[in-house]
Structure formats: structure tokens, C-alpha cells
């Protein structure tokens, strides 16, 4: 073992004490000084366990039996105290808020120093130095709730860098960040790696976002084994990602659909830097209908948003592009309408409060599936909470089915609008599935027969019928999420609002869950999705409301919004790799490529779910072939 090898696993296997089968098998992995590695894999592939092996939590906190060998900083983590391993390897946990242990950023960064009994006089300089590395010096006196998610993450990074660790381990660093903050986080991690020589190991399944900056290697895990460990180009071009339930970058998928798949030598990780061949550019132009586009004027869809900056009145809807119906008309009565709604929070005699929403007007028709996009703190959650009556509005009107609901109490609005929290644990309070569904029905005083009938129906709709007698504790996270939706659907609301429905789920679970929501929507329920996941908005909604600074700054089709640099910039979203690909192929209207992609992707997905019983490998082949030969 040379000096340069910081972490080395050889033939390593691990089985948790409470489990009947090993979680990790035969792992060989070497991390050298200065490397930057991302470990990807679906839920249950063992990537989190692998991370816990590297920081010593396995076996110190999660006991079990290990085989093979593991060395971290020259010693076996199992043989030395946890703190010893932490001196070499600093861990930034996924739960950004939960790992903030002190009352201010300054003290949180100093926490490890305090525990090592560093004299108080020596701490400020070291804290300052660590804070400077992650550019958080201006917020050192802030309390955790005064910091954004990205800022809290920086504090957490500084809190481990203060110890001069060799390796930084990140457990899903993007899971709790909005797209723009996620991009900044990836840039920061890259800077730490390049300029300060910090070795980086990330566990993350949002591969496209990670590849915003280059990595040295992608380690792909499936079923507790490493199935690929190679430079990103090779792994991306190999097709193994999709087979293992990881979504490849969108521009890579688009090139595959266009019949011109990428090769490893092209450095295909980022749409910005990929070396496109002329053949590929031609294929993309042809596939996206480039000939048509060239004939049209080069007017940008959604360009009307430029004028939206003028004032709240003008901001409601950007002028739609002439050739494409931006918002597909859904026939049906208006089920929810907001008229000039404004919300002020925290107003009192001494303080005028904070205006978190102003001049919000929009109409939602029955049967629509709408995405509410925006960064954390933009006001999208407040908007949903105002509709539900959790937050009182100070101006304007909220109409449900044409009736002014402004004065209705929460429970009365709940009969029309169902709200599903992000964390299913926050909504479940009964031990049995059927009891949980019946809880809200009983509270509304329905008859027993009616309760039984509705319970049966939503169990069926939500695919929970086989588990009807199970205890809630035996359900997976995704099933619990379905249960919370079932218990809200049982109340038969017309509108269902979901807060970040797919946060933290891998691609396979995400697809399964969103297909389920699409079927609920097809059943007639209007669905509003609060999200900052742009893939979700692109693929499952026909219309998005973009919220920024407490206003709706755009109301258009997702393809138009997410290819509009001005809107995405203002709303802290990011344009996707598809947009970059379109630009690099010289397409005047990036939205066309996006729409084409979504159209093909939906078909491929439909084919895949039809052949869901088949093996993963067969699905992959179907996906690529079906796209090429399919819709012309």
C-alpha cells in the first residue's frame, strides 16, 4: 500500500447483523490521493453501505460481519475508534439540516475542534480558514434556520475541512438542493478537488447533475457489487447505467434516440464539452425536425417573459410562441382559481411582515397535471399552502369550483383540495394501512359501509390492495408515500397537491411513482406537483407555473420554460443538457428538441412498462431500438 492510496477495499463483503443476506459482495475499490469519484447505483444497490464502510460507521454504529479487507488511511476502520477514521475521512451527510448540531455556523464548524479539546483561543483562526475554503465567511453568526440549504451544506463541509481531512465523503449531496444550488455545490466540490487537492468520493444517483463538472471515475453498483469502475465516458457509453436503474444524462439519451449514440472517446459526460461528430449533429437536427425549424422565424418561445420583469401585472403569462400551442387546452371547468392573491407572513404591530406572495393569479382546469417550479424559498410551497388554507392570504380571492373559499377553514378546503407532504412519515399515525385510510373518513363522519367501500377503492387505485392487512411499518418508503396519497384520495378531493413527490428516489422508483400519479390524474383528479425536479416537470406535466420572488413569472409548457435562459436564471432553475445540445447542434428553437425528446421518451417508457416483466437487459435494448425505429 503506497502513500497515495487513501482507501482500499479488496474482496470486501458485509452483512448487517439484522439481515439474512450480505449487502456488499466482493468489493474491490481503490481511492488515490487527489481523485474525484462518484458512486452511483439504484436504491438498495449497497452504495450507502459502501460509504458507511469508508467512514467507519460500519461496523461501529451498524454492526455486522465483514469479509475481505478494508484500509482507510492505512488502518482498518473496524480496528480503530470511529474518530480515528474521521481524521482521514470527513463525511457530509445527506440530511443537510439534521447534521447542523450547533446554534450558529461558527460554532458548528468549530464542533470537531471543541471535541478534540483545541484551546478556545486557537479556534477562531481555524474556523475562519475552513469557512473561507467554502466561501461562507459572511454567514458565520447565522442560526441554522436563517441559512439556505446550500449554505448549510457549506457549513457542514467546513465543519469537516476544519480537521484537514484527506478525503471528503458526500452522501447524496444534491438530494436536498434546488437545481441552481446543486450546480453551485458541484462547482464548489470541484474547486476543493482541483485547487486544494481534497480527494472526493460522492454517492449520488443524479448523475447528470454530478457531471456538470468532470469526475475521474464513475463506480456503478448493482445488487451489492461493483459492476463498473471506469472513466465517465466509458461508463456512459457502455449502456450499463440504464440497466442498473440510473438515468444517463439527457443529452446522451437524446443522441441515442436520434440514432447516433455516444462513444467513450467523445467525453460525453457534459453537453457543454462533448465532442460531437458531424454525423451526430445531422442526426439530431433531423430527429428534432430541424428543416422545419430553419424556415420559421428565430423567435424564441417564451420570449414574452422579458417584459414580465416590468411589473407584477404583466408577469402572469409570457407570450406563447406562435407555432406551438404552449399550454395545451384541457377541456373542463375551472376547478381552482387564484385572483390577485397576496400573502404577508409575520406581520404584527411592530413589523410590517414579509411579502411572500403578491399578485398571483392563475386558473386550473379539471384534469390538468401542473408543475409548480421554483427554487427553495421562492414561494411555491407558500402558494400551495395558501390554497389549502394553511397560510392566510391578505389580498385577493381563492375560488374552488367557482365558490369563494377565502374564508373557509382548513378542513372545509380539505374536502376539495388534498395536500400530501413530502415526508410520508409526517402524515401516517395509525399502525395498520386500512386504519390509516379510514382515519380521515371517520373524522368526516362517514358511515362504516361508505368507509369500507372507499378504502377498498383507493387501495385498488394505489396498488396497495395486496397489503391491505399489513402493518404500516412493513411498507417501503415508496409504498408509504402511496399510502399517504391513498388516505388523501379517499376523501375524494378534486385537486391533489404533492410537495416534492419524488425527492430522494432513484430513477426506477421515480418512474414507477410518477406513472402511478399519471394514472391518478387520468382517473380525473387534478394534480399539482410542487417540485424543483425539471425532469419530472418535463416528462409528466403539460403546463408549469414558475414561481420566483413570490410571483408567477411564467405559465407555459415545460419545454418552453426549461429552454428559456431568462426564466430559468430568474427562477434558479437550470437549463437541461438538452438545451445545450440543441444549441450546439445549431437548432434555433431548443424547445422543439425538448418536446421531441419528451414525446419519444414517453413512448419508450410506455413500452418499457408494458414489458415490465422482462429482464433489465432486454428493456435496455428495447429502449434504444424502439426509439430509432418507432415514431418517424
Amino acid at each position: 500500500m503506497t502513500d497515495d492510496v487513501l482507501i482500499e477495499l479488496a474482496g470486501y463483503g458485509f452483512q448487517y447483523r439484522a439481515q439474512s443476506a450480505p449487502t456488499l459482495h466482493d468489493i474491490d475499490l481503490t481511492v488515490r490521493r487527489g481523485e474525484k469519484i462518484v458512486i452511483v447505483g439504484a436504491s438498495g444497490s449497497g452504495k450507502s453501505t459502501l460509504l458507511s464502510v469508508m467512514n467507519g460507521m460500519v461496523p461501529h454504529r451498524y454492526p455486522g460481519t465483514a469479509t475481505g479487507s478494508v484500509r482507510v488511511g492505512g488502518s482498518d476502520p473496524a480496528q480503530v475508534p470511529l474518530v480515528e477514521t474521521s481524521r482521514h475521512v470527513g463525511t457530509v451527510l445527506q440530511d443537510i439540516s439534521g447534521q447542523f448540531v450547533a446554534l450558529t455556523a461558527r460554532e458548528d464548524i468549530a464542533f470537531s475542534l471543541e471535541n478534540q479539546q483545541v484551546p478556545a483561543a486557537d479556534m477562531p483562526a481555524r474556523v475562519q480558514r475552513a469557512a473561507a475554503l467554502v466561501d461562507i465567511e459572511d454567514h458565520l453568526d447565522a442560526a441554522p434556520h436563517a441559512l439556505s440549504g446550500g449554505q448549510k451544506q457549506r457549513v457542514a463541509i467546513a465543519g469537516v475541512l476544519v480537521d484537514d481531512v484527506d478525503v471528503l465523503l458526500f452522501d447524496e449531496p444534491l438530494a436536498m438542493l434546488d437545481p441552481a444550488s446543486g450546480r453551485t455545490a458541484i462547482e464548489l466540490i470541484d474547486t476543493l478537488n482541483r485547487e486544494h487537492g481534497t480527494t472526493i468520493v460522492m454517492v449520488e444517483h443524479r448523475l447528470e447533475d454530478v457531471l456538470h463538472r468532470d469526475v475521474d471515475r464513475i463506480v456503478l453498483m448493482e445488487g451489492g457489487r461493483i459492476i463498473a469502475d471506469a472513466p465517465p465516458g466509458e461508463v456512459i457509453a457502455s449502456g450499463l447505467l440504464e440497466a442498473a436503474g440510473i438515468r444517463p444524462p439527457l443529452h446522451v439519451a437524446a443522441l441515442a434516440y436520434a440514432g447516433a449514440p455516444v462513444a467513450a472517446y467523445q467525453r460525453p459526460g457534459s453537453a457543454e464539452t462533448i465532442a460531437l461528430t458531424d454525423a451526430q449533429i445531422a442526426a439530431v437536427r433531423n430527429w428534432a425536425g430541424g428543416r422545419d425549424a430553419a424556415e420559421r422565424s428565430s423567435e424564441q418561445p417564451g420570449a414574452g417573459a422579458g417584459s414580465a420583469a416590468g411589473g407584477p401585472r404583466a408577469s402572469a403569462v409570457p407570450a406563447p410562441a406562435p407555432e406551438a400551442p404552449v399550454v395545451p387546452e384541457v377541456d373542463g371547468p375551472t376547478v381552482l382559481a387564484l385572483e390577485d392573491v397576496g400573502v404577508v407572513l409575520g406581520a404584527s404591530r411592530t413589523s410590517p411582515g414579509e411579502r411572500v406572495l403578491h399578485g398571483v393569479s392563475t386558473r386550473v382546469r379539471r384534469g390538468e397535471m401542473i408543475g409548480i417550479l421554483g427554487s427553495n424559498g421562492a414561494g411555491k410551497s407558500t402558494l400551495a399552502r395558501t390554497v389549502c388554507g394553511f397560510v392566510p392570504h391578505s389580498t385577493g380571492r381563492i375560488l374552488l369550483d367557482g365558490a369563494d373559499a377565502s374564508a373557509w377553514p382548513i378542513a372545509q378546503r380539505g374536502e376539495r383540495v388534498g395536500f400530501v407532504l413530502q415526508e410520508p412519515g409526517q402524515m401516517i399515525s395509525k399502525p395498520l394501512i386500512a386504519e390509516e385510510i379510514a382515519l380521515g373518513l371517520e373524522a368526516r363522519g362517514l358511515s362504516e359501509a361508505e368507509i369500507a367501500e372507499r378504502t377498498e377503492r383507493v387501495l385498488e387505485v394505489c396498488g396497495l390492495a395486496p397489503f391491505r392487512t399489513w402493518p404500516v411499518s412493513a411498507l417501503s418508503h415508496g409504498q408509504k408515500k402511496r399510502l399517504t396519497i391513498a388516505s388523501v384520495l379517499a376523501l375524494e378531493p378534486e385537486v391533489l397537491i404533492l410537495d416534492e413527490p419524488t425527492a430522494g428516489q432513484d430513477f426506477a422508483h421515480y418512474t414507477e411513482f410518477m406513472d402511478f400519479l399519471a394514472s391518478v390524474n387520468a382517473g380525473g383528479t387534478t394534480v399539482l406537483l410542487i417540485t424543483h425536479d425539471m425532469h419530472l416537470a418535463l416528462e409528466y406535466t403539460d403546463r408549469v407555473l414558475v414561481v420566483s420572488g413570490g410571483q408567477i413569472i411564467a405559465d407555459a409548457s415545460p419545454a418552453d420554460v426549461l429552454t428559456d435562459r431568462e426564466i430559468t436564471r430568474r427562477a434558479d432553475l437550470v437549463t437541461t443538457g438538452l438545451h445545450t445540445l440543441a444549441e450546439r447542434c445549431g437548432l434555433p428553437e431548443p424547445a422543439r428538441l425538448v418536446r421531441r425528446f419528451v414525446e419519444v421518451d414517453r413512448q419508450v417508457r410506455a413500452e418499457r412498462s408494458a414489458s415490465a416483466q422482462q429482464r433489465d437487459g432486454a428493456q435496455r435494448a428495447d429502449g434504444a431500438d424502439g426509439a430509432n425505429g418507432g415514431p418517424a
Binding site: N55, M57, R61, P81, L82, V83, S86, T91, L93, D95, S97, G98, Q99, F100, V101, A102, L103, R106, E107, F111, S112, L113, E114, N115, Q116, Q117, V118, P119, A120, M123, V127, P144, H145, G159, G346, R385, C388, G389, F390, I410, A411, R413, G414, V417, G418, F419, L421, E423, G425, Q426, M427, I428, S429, K430, L439, G440, A443, S487, V488, L491
Partner: protein
């Protein structure tokens, strides 16, 4: 974010410049002295000193309106209950009986009873301002370090800091959960019967509790990874060296306790009897 009911007030005054440890010792001194002594003169002096300190440290009653309300309510209730259950206690205590108002049954209002209850009330005024002042003029992290400095194990004293850190989070979770449950029809407001309200409240508290347990799991992982609990001692970022004024304050605290004990000896008991 709603303002906390009780917490640090960032409006620097003379008390803010003392170390937390000195203030903590002073509070313990005042509480100890007030508990030992029932001498009205002594308690009155303590109460006046506490209120002067309050004024000097620029804390406004408005900062603590809710807490003052609660304390005030308790004080009144306490007095009413003493009179209801032990209207003759003052007479037993002082051995004399001067009836002021001839009430029904045994509930006659005597000067002795009135004096006794005045002493009890004085204790509130002697103790509460000092305790509230400590909390409002000490930064929470210093709170924990000062506990540790007077000998409380750091694992225990850090839990004070952790509780303060997570209370706002738990409050926010509670609001979120309770609103989501209300939307399902689980009403916890006054519109419902008490039994239903309690049952509905359980439906809010259970997820809150499970969420809190999960949070504890995360926090303890994070703390362990960063070396908490490994050594017997730890240092504190917020440690400030004692200065002359801190030592003076600690001396005052010691004098107060000594004074209270001296009075017990002088009065030949814990009470000073003006009726003798």
C-alpha cells in the same frame, strides 16, 4: 419563523458582558438565598435588586410577554390556592391572629395570612426576574458551556444547547403535521369535543415523535463522526476568561447565600415575625 417565547435577546447591556458562568452562579445564589429565607425584608431587597438589574440590562417586558403572563397567572393561582386550602397557615406560623375580614367558615382573612402570602409572592419577584435575565442575556452556546464549567458533565450540558437548536425545527414540524391532518378533517381546535380533540392531537403527536426519533439518529451520527463523546473533556468555542467583574458577581452570589443563612440564625428560624 415565529419568534421564540423565551430566548436570548440581542440588545447588549451590562449583563451581556459578564461570562455565562458568573451569571449562572449569581442566579443559583439568588435562587438559593430566596429558597432558604422567608425573611420579608431580605426577599424585598432581593426583589428590588432583581428588578433594578432587569431595568439596567435593557430587557423589555414585551420581549417576554408570554412567559410573564404564564408566571403571573401561576402566581395568582398559587395565592388563591394557598388561601383556599390553608387560610389559617399564617396564624399557625406566627402564633397570633388579627382578623381583617370575617369570611365564611374558616376562611377569615388575617393580617398574618396576608403577610405570609405576601412573602410567597415576594419570592416570585426575587427569583423570576433573575432567572429570566440569565436566559435573555446569555447566548445559548454559552449557556451550555457555563453549565459545563460549574461541573455538569458536557454530554448533559450540550443537550441543553441541542434542545435549543432543535426546538424551532420541532415547532415547524408540529405546525406542518397538524395542518396536514386538519386538512384530512382531524380538527384539533376548540370546535371539537375534548375527547375528539385529544384523539386527533395524538394523530399529530405520533408522527412528530417518530420524526424526532429519526432526527436524533441523524444528529447522533453527525456528532459521533465529529468526535463528540470520545474524550472525557471538551473545550468550548465560546469560552471567555473570567474578568474582575465576573469574580465580583460570584462573590455577591456567595454573600447572598451567606446572608440568607445568617438571617435564619439571627431570626431563630426561617421567618421574620413582625407580629411578635
Amino acid at each position: 419563523m415565529s419568534t421564540p417565547l423565551l430566548g436570548y435577546v440581542d440588545r447588549p447591556g451590562p449583563l451581556h458582558t459578564l461570562t455565562g458562568t458568573a451569571k449562572l452562579v449569581l442566579v443559583i445564589g439568588i435562587v438559593g438565598a430566596a429558597m432558604i429565607s422567608f425573611d420579608a425584608r431580605f426577599l424585598a431587597a432581593l426583589a428590588v435588586a432583581s428588578i433594578v438589574l432587569w431595568a439596567a440590562s435593557r430587557i423589555r417586558p414585551g420581549d417576554l410577554a408570554v412567559v410573564l403572563w404564564i408566571v403571573g397567572t401561576f402566581m395568582v393561582l398559587n395565592n388563591l390556592l394557598i388561601f383556599a386550602f390553608a387560610p389559617g397557615y399564617g396564624t399557625d406560623l406566627f402564633g397570633t391572629r388579627h382578623v381583617l375580614i370575617d369570611g365564611p367558615g374558616r376562611w377569615d382573612l388575617t393580617s398574618e395570612q396576608l403577610f405570609y402570602q405576601a412573602v410567597v409572592t415576594l419570592k416570585y419577584f426575587a427569583v423570576m426576574p433573575a432567572m429570566l435575565l440569565f436566559i435573555t442575556t446569555t447566548r445559548p452556546p454559552e449557556f451550555a458551556s457555563s453549565l459545563s464549567r460549574i461541573g455538569v458533565p458536557y454530554r448533559v450540558s450540550y443537550s441543553v444547547s441541542l434542545a435549543l437548536r432543535y426546538i424551532p425545527d420541532v415547532q415547524r414540524d408540529f405546525r406542518t403535521i397538524s395542518q396536514a391532518q386538519q386538512a384530512r378533517g382531524l380538527d384539533t381546535s376548540k370546535r371539537q369535543r375534548l375527547g375528539v380533540r385529544i384523539r386527533n392531537l395524538v394523530s399529530v403527536l405520533l408522527p412528530l415523535l417518530l420524526g424526532a426519533l429519526e432526527r436524533i439518529e441523524t444528529v447522533s451520527s453527525a456528532m459521533e463522526l465529529r468526535g463528540f463523546g470520545r474524550e472525557k473533556r471538551r473545550t468550548w468555542f465560546d469560552e471567555r476568561p473570567f474578568r474582575a467583574r465576573d469574580l465580583v458577581v460570584i462573590a455577591v452570589a456567595a454573600l447572598l447565600v451567606a446572608g440568607a443563612i445568617a438571617l435564619v440564625v439571627l431570626n431563630g428560624g426561617r421567618y421574620w415575625n413582625p407580629f411578635a
